[in-house]
Symmetry: C2
Subunit: 228 residues, 2 copies
DNA sequence: GACGATTTCAACCAGGTGGTTAAACCGTCC
DNA sequence: GGACGGTTTAACCACCTGGTTGAAATCGTC
């Protein structure tokens, strides 16, 4: 009997972190994809500990035993979902990095692309933040491998900022801190959505808030980086 | 038999959200305080679902049954811990709001105070973010009550920013968005600590990183708010 | 020191959890 | 048809979890 859970390997073999924005895990069968989606939803909403295998099975419209047939168990399933989510996340990071004539446009495109990705993939964000909060044993390896990869998105962004500094487009700043600040402002309010929604509950719907927030972030960061 | 779990009420009766920086829940007995600390540690590290009552009991050096004797059960205990954590958090928010002659100094004091509080109370932050991620049913009521309170820290901060706008110290900005951005940059890197530590693992120890980050945040925000 | 109230404990329980198993199903190739 | 591989299912299990119990130890007080 060929072990179907061997489908975890194909993605591991590749050393490239191609920032292709596509995600749908191609090697996955229809059933596996359904399981995967259900698992992402459950893990993203409840966290690893709060998630119930039964709920995932129900949501995927299959028997609970199938989960252990396709994925070895909860840990495996979670690790798989997390790995793909991480990849998707990194891909979006790269996809938001467009080639633009000015740094201003580059920054604007990045922020807008990043926020819209986060808006459309809230579950991914929740999963990643959740894992970080819970200790992040899985985070370490993925981030480390991504960091050392040559053409990886974060490195590209660092280079972009450094180039802007040398060109005098922005004042001298630490690129790492700067990226962290941008990402913070773009992600944090999604992670804290319940709080934010209460604070701004009289200020229109969520989508409108996200839009105004995008503009605010760009203005703040861009001016904050302006040369003296 | 007087129900000891009635100790949940004394804090509820007060309508004030006095931003006193003190925290030690005075009405708590020594045992209760031990339980409380152990619970905060466990909940903060593992989240509500991941936390184990047995672990809390062990950590507090007491029998598991005591938890149900002093607090009704897991839900009660969690709610209590969360409520006090929320209060402590809001208190720190107010404590960081000092009276300073210039807006620049006010902002610097706030950022430094806030970051140092977060550094010294990482568990509190993790608990709050964790609760937000997990749906935040508890968040809503606390935030709502805090929002409507007149002298509450966030409102004070809003007024402070608005005054600075009117005085021409900073450009016209949405105070809510601005506060959210400040808080994001000050908190997010703590919530994502595992990731951040890997990315900057060759850049000295954590404390040094926090220090440099504080300076970076201030520079970025202050310049980002500068009048045209 | 007796007595009642409070605090502590070991043992126990019901329910839910992840995980397993053995049999049934189903298309396909001989 | 029937053997065979991958797939699906219902029933089942061991274990862990939060929660309970009733009795024993401890404390305050008269």
């Amino acid at each position: 009997m060929t072990d179907p859970s061997a489908n975890t390997s194909p993605d591991d073999t590749d050393g490239d972190a191609t920032p292709s924005p596509s995600f749908d895990v191609s090697e996955y069968s229809e059933t596996e994809q359904q399981i995967f989606d259900a698992a992402l939803a459950e893990f993203g909403r409840k966290g690893k500990d709060g998630a119930r295998m039964q709920a995932i099975a129900d949501s995927a419209g299959i028997n609970k035993a199938m989960l252990h047939y396709y994925f070895r168990g909860k840990d495996q399933l979670y690790a798989d979902v997390f790995r793909h989510t991480m990849q998707r996340f990194m891909a979006s990071f790269g996809a938001s990095l467009t080639e633009a004539p000015t740094f201003e446009e580059t920054l604007r495109a990045f922020i807008e692309g990043y926020v819209s990705f986060v808006r459309d993939n809230e579950l991914c964000v929740r999963l990643i933040v959740s894992e970080n909060l819970a200790g992040g044993t899985l985070v370490a390896e993925h981030v480390r491998r991504m960091k050392t990869t040559e053409g990886a998105p974060p490195r590209v962004m660092v280079d972009r900022i450094q180039a802007a500094v040398e060109d005098g487009d922005i004042r001298p700043v630490d690129p790492d801190h700067t990226i962290l600040s941008i990402v913070s402002t773009c992600i944090f309010f999604f992670a804290m959505r319940p709080t934010v929604e209460v604070l701004h509950e009289d200020a229109g719907d969520w989508d409108a808030f996200v839009t105004s927030r995008t503009e605010h972030i760009f203005e703040l960061i861009y001016r904050g980086l302006a040369p003296r």
